[in-house]
Point group: C2
DNA sequence: CCTACCGATCGGTAGG
DNA sequence: CCTACCGATCGGTAGG
C-alpha cells in the first residue's frame, strides 16, 4: 500500500519489462493470446471436433504438446475462446449503449435498437471476429459446467436488448411479444455468420439499416400518426 | 402406358412384396432408412465430427463395419441425411404453397408468407425433424462437390419465398430490401433450432404468428390507410 | 450384414 | 516450451 511496492519486486501483477510468471496467469512470453486467436480461427472454420490440438499448435508456431502447457485440455481452450469472445462482445455493447445514451435528445428506442444491432454485427463480422461465432456454433461442444458458466454472460448480453424492445413494443412499433421478438431478432442477426461476406454485397451499416427496417414498424400507435388509425370502423 | 404393366413383373420400380435389390438402391431388407435416421439424430446432437460411425451403427442395431455396406463413407452418410432433409422440406413447402393457393380469395401475400413460415417451423421442429437442422449446422462438414450439389435444392427452397416477399415489399408492408429481408427472415426462423423447445413455451403456431407480426408491417402504403399517410408535411 | 483387423491419428503426459 | 511417447479411438476394408 506504500511506495515500497515500487522498490521491491513483489508487485503482484503486470511487472514492466519481461513479464513474470504468476500462479494465476503463467504467461511465459505471453503466447497464450496467440493460441487463443489461432484456436478461434480454426474452431470457427472447421468446428471444435474437427480441429486438432496439433492444428492449433502449428498455427501458433508451436510443437504438438505445447498448447497443454497453457491450457489443461482442448475443452479448456474452447471455453477460453468463448469467454474472451463474450467479454469483448459485452464491452463493445456497453460502449454502443453509452454512445447512444450520451445524446439524450436523439436517444429514442429506435436509435437504441439500431446501436445494438450495429454493435452486434460488429461483434460478428468486425476485425478479430472469430470468437463469438465459435460461441454461437460450438455451444454443444462445451462441457455442462462450462455451459452454465457462460450462461451468465449470455443472459447479460441479451438483457441489454430488453429496454429498447419493451419501449418499442409499448409504442406499437414492435408488434411481436418482446421475448419472442428478441429471440427472433438475435437469430436473424447471428445467422448472418452463415452468409455475410465483408468483401462483397452490403456493408455492416446497410445490414443494420435493413434489419431495423425489417423489425421496427414506423407507424406505432403512439405516434402522431396514431390518431389517424385509432378511429377504426368499430368506434 | 397400358394395362400390360399390371401383368408383367418388369415394372422398373417399387415391386410389391419383399423389395428387390437394384444396382442403384441395394436395400437388403431396407435398413438404410434406419441408418439415416440414427445418423441424423446423432449428427444433430453431437455434430458430424464428434459422431463416430460406430455410434451410428450401434443406434441402428448393427456392428461397427456395417454402415459401410450401405454408404461408402461417413461423408456419404452426411450428404444422404441432408439430401433427404431437403427433399422432405421441399415437399412440405410445396404442399403449404398449394394449400394457400387453393383459397384464391384469401391468398394474400401475408397469408402466403404465414404459410411459408409455418411450413419452415414444421420442417425444423416437427416429427422427424433432425435432417434439416443437420443441413443447417453441418454445412461446413460437407465436401466441396457435395456442397455444390445441395446448393441447387437450397436455392429452390429459398426462391419459393420471393413472390410473397416481393409483393409485400411492393405494398410497403415489408420495409427492408427483399434479398436481405429473405436472408434475415430465414435466419430468424432457422436459429430457433437453438432455443425452441416443443415441450414448453410457445407452440409452432404462436411462433409463426410472432414471426409474421415482427416482419410484416400492417400499414403498408397500398392499404386504405395509406391515404392518411400520403399527405406528409412536405406535400 | 458380421468378424477381425489395419493404418493413421488424436488428446494428453513425463521429463527435461 | 520441446522431445518422445502412450493408450485409445476411428474410418474403412477383406473375406466370408
Amino acid at each position: 500500500m506504500t511506495d515500497a511496492a515500487i522498490a521491491t519486486p513483489i508487485e503482484p501483477k503486470r511487472a514492466r519489462g519481461r513479464p513474470r510468471k504468476t500462479v494465476d496467469e503463467r504467461d511465459d512470453g505471453n503466447r497464450r493470446p496467440e493460441l487463443l486467436k489461432a484456436a478461434a480461427l480454426l474452431f470457427r472454420r472447421q468446428g471444435f471436433a474437427a480441429t486438432t490440438t496439433r492444428d492449433i499448435a502449428a498455427a501458433a508456431g508451436m510443437q504438438s504438446g505445447s498448447p497443454f502447457y497453457h491450457f489443461k485440455s482442448k475443452h479448456a481452450l474452447l471455453y477460453a475462446v468463448m469467454e474472451e469472445g463474450m467479454h469483448s462482445a459485452l464491452a463493445r455493447q456497453a460502449a454502443a449503449i453509452e454512445v447512444s445514451a450520451r445524446d439524450s435528445k436523439a436517444n429514442t428506442p429506435q436509435v437504441q435498437l439500431r446501436c445494438l444491432v450495429r454493435a452486434h454485427f460488429d461483434v460478428l463480422h468486425g476485425p478479430g471476429s472469430d470468437f463469438i461465432p465459435v460461441m454461437l456454433y460450438e455451444h454443444r461442444s462445451l462441457l455442462v459446467r462450462q455451459r452454465t458458466a457462460l450462461a451468465q454472460l449470455q443472459v447479460q448480453y441479451e438483457s441489454a436488448w430488453s429496454p429498447a424492445l419493451e419501449a418499442l413494443h409499448a409504442s406499437g412499433q414492435l408488434r411481436a411479444p418482446v421475448k419472442l421478438a428478441r429471440l427472433l431478432i438475435l437469430g436473424a442477426l447471428s445467422w448472418s455468420v452463415q452468409w455475410f461476406d465483408r468483401k462483397k454485397g452490403a456493408s455492416l451499416d446497410e445490414l443494420a439499416d435493413a434489419a431495423c427496417a425489417l423489425f421496427v414498424n414506423p407507424c406505432g400507435t403512439d405516434q402522431e400518426l396514431r390518431s389517424n388509425f385509432a378511429r377504426s370502423p368499430t368506434d
